[in-house]
Amino acid sequence: MSFWRIVLKSLKHHHFSNGLAAISIAMGVALLVAVYSLKEQSHNTFTQVGLGVDAVLGPKGSPLQIVLNAVYHLEDMPGKIKWTYYREVEKEPIVAQAIPFVVGHSYGGFRVNAIDGRFLTEFEYLPGKTFSFSEKLGGQGRPFIAPDEAVAGWAVARRLNLKLGDTFSPVCGVKEGGPIHEKDILRFVGILAPTGTPHDRAIYIPLETFYGLSGHPRETVIMAHLEEYREISGAYIKIKRIRGGALHPGIQDLKFEINQSDRNQLVVPAEVMPRLHNIIGWVDRVLITIAIMLTVLSALFLFFSLLSALREMRRDLALFRALGATRKTIMGLVISEALIISLLGGLVGLALGHCLIGVGAHFIKVESGVDFSAGYLSMIDWLLVPAAILLGILAGLVPGIQAYRLGVLKNLSTVS
């Protein structure tokens, strides 16, 4: 009988305890895979500092909410600001560029942002990079010109299978089931080349189009024509640079000044996002610690289960020794059993972990708009097989050493 056949027979013989050990390892690994994958994906989503936006001019409210809405197209804006105030800020000497926008509509689960046309032609989303419609880079068409034209981000076009010339009617609000502006039919004239930023996940329409959408009250409609009554959700602010490309130090004074006003504030994403990371970072660490403890407990369970199986198998193992098996072979049998259980638990846990992400991602997307992928491979996926092998060896080491030291005569003697 071959070595591996003996191992498999032994596994089958103790199938209940071995199965439990594998399941408990699978559960710990599944939790570890899910938490790590979500951690890495959210880190990738939220750590692209600034994304071309040095500051966001917005209404009073939570600075985090303003950054999440303006930069990451999540959450809602907590209010509106006056167009005349935005124009005053635009004139400040240290402001290099100010691009107004209005949020509050969606299509196909993606935000529709009414925005100044300069966003698509002059705004640098990363240093030296403006949006492109070049086909070589994966874009199509051109920026919008007419009020009934729209441009889609690359991720939007891919998810909704959009082509140039396709039409849509914006939905009022950002949740599913909101009222549709059925009388307004907008046509996609451009698809942005991928940027690898949240800007890929939005649809852009001309700023003035927002005010004229059917169903909006007259007070909103006149905003298109009368600046003194016009309101916007906010503005992307770019600050002038000084030597070495550093932000002009006057940004702190500007922020202080605007933040004293009753209705407005200036939020710097690079100051707000690290606070979010600190909070989430601790949640991640706790969850990962729990997952590791669960996996270690599973390994301990495997260890005790092997010890218990060894006690039952002493006579059998002594018989093998008497038939010519070496000490190393006996030790190898025990460790191999532990390895197989550990690997099996690890692989099942890996698959289960990705399934967990797939299920969770759907609910996260519905509730928060953040997209997670079940197929994303995190660091844990690559380390899993070596870690499972190590875990199996560690769990099987002591029982293996005990099996190595097994006395043949003592264990073959008749039990009276």
Binding site: Q252, E257, T289
Partner: protein
């Protein structure tokens, strides 16, 4: 010894974990100590810390902001004065007069007579490294003596420094 090994291992991990936790806690406490000067200037207490005046020098210009007391240094406190006269003592140069003029922050909705920012210009400010200035200001409706110490700031309750 064999029986004690698992216990020692668990104890070691617990100490390591708690050690990391306390490092974080200490870090958090240090962050919250001290008052922050939001314009990069130096803070000078007004009265019994009912407010501060933050002072910054840029070339020949001195800018002063009247802000809240305690940790509330991120809140502007407008005052009615249109100008504030300061008697400035510069080591080795004697006494001089410096007039702070109201410079309203328009984006904050301020105007002269309801203004938290004051500006003064003088050539000697370019080279000054240290000075002490005295004046008076009606702050939150009460007349207070103003004492400005540059560059150390004035905060008798928390020590000289403003950070």
């Amino acid at each position: 010894m064999k029986n004690r090994l698992p216990v020692l291992f668990v104890a070691f991990c617990t100490v390591l974990f708690l050690g990391k936790l306390s490092t974080y806690s200490n870090g958090a406490e240090e962050h919250h100590g001290g008052h922050e000067a939001h314009h990069g200037g130096v803070l000078n207490v007004i009265g019994e810390e009912v407010g501060h005046v933050e002072v910054r020098i840029e070339g020949d210009t001195l800018v002063a902001w009247f802000v809240g007391g305690g940790h509330d240094t991120n809140r502007a406190v407008p005052i009615k004065d249109k100008e504030i006269a300061l008697k400035v003592s510069v080591p080795g140069k004697g006494e001089m007069t410096l007039i702070l003029n109201a410079s309203p922050m328009k984006l904050a909705g301020e105007k002269v007579g309801h203004c938290s920012r004051f500006v003064a210009k003088a050539d000697w400010l370019r080279e000054v490294k240290e000075f002490q200035a005295r004046g008076e200001v009606v702050f939150k409706g009460i007349l207070h003596e103003l004492l400005i110490k540059y560059p150390k700031g004035h905060d008798p309750m928390h020590g000289q420094g403003s950070h």
